[in-house]
Symmetry: C2
DNA sequence: AGATATACATTGACACGCGAAGTATAATAC
DNA sequence: GTATTATACTTCGCGTGTCAATGTATATCT
């Protein structure tokens, strides 16, 4: 059972930020890490990943620079900014609030009064 | 702190189904119930609610009929179908899986290897 | 030489949430 | 008696995020 797009929506950026909290990295590796961490149950699609990077950079949450690889394909590295860290904590808090509310609303209670 | 649109996305239909698991009801009351259940922290916007009803009916998860009120505004009642019940359980399962995966991915682990 | 893995980018379609505006009836206030 | 508020549903159009598809480019493996 794969995870529906509409359910990760609103979390992709936070997922990326979480990864960058551990240190600078780049798209391909971040995606592989997500795949690995979820036992291949979930992956961000490339287009989704790279457009999320754009948004995060535009909003000042991350900063990018080209790696100095002398071999292999070029890599665009990303590092999280102070604003990004702040945003990460806030988003996590929001997620936890939302999670609780949704759990509450999905209950099939027999009587709620 | 209100709940972001992108975070409830994918759950609105399940929320409605959860309400209808308790018995037939209509839009206005369902919305008030949600508001009440979450201590006014969350409500489905009218447009969202009613378009979700449309989708659910189109997909055969719910069935609607006009109430026979002799006074007040007309009410369109909804009842959940067997398919709707099935769908409700499935969506809840999916939500729980997604929740776990997302929680896992949002962890700011110091070392994951 | 051809296939596969690495690595990033862009376009266009699609779906959902929602602000805004509208319709209609009944109850309450002044 | 009319103005406001609550009840109740509907539709239009915009914004945003996901993703399939396609393309570019390099290195390694067979």
């Amino acid at each position: 059972m794969s995870i529906a797009s509409d359910l990760i929506r609103g979390n992709t950026e936070t997922i990326i930020l979480a990864r960058l909290m551990q240190g600078d990295s780049y798209g391909y590796v971040i995606n592989k890490a997500i795949l690995h961490k979820t036992d291949h149950q979930f992956e961000l699609k490339e287009a989704t990943l790279y457009t999320a990077f754009r948004r995060l950079e535009e909003s000042g949450c991350i900063h990018s620079y080209w790696g100095d690889e002398t071999t292999g394909a070029r890599r665009r590295y990303y590092s999280i900014t102070p604003l990004g860290r702040e945003s990460y904590y806030l988003r996590k808090k929001e997620w936890n609030v939302a999670k609780t509310l949704i759990d509450q609303l999905l209950e099939e209670e027999i009587n709620d009064e």
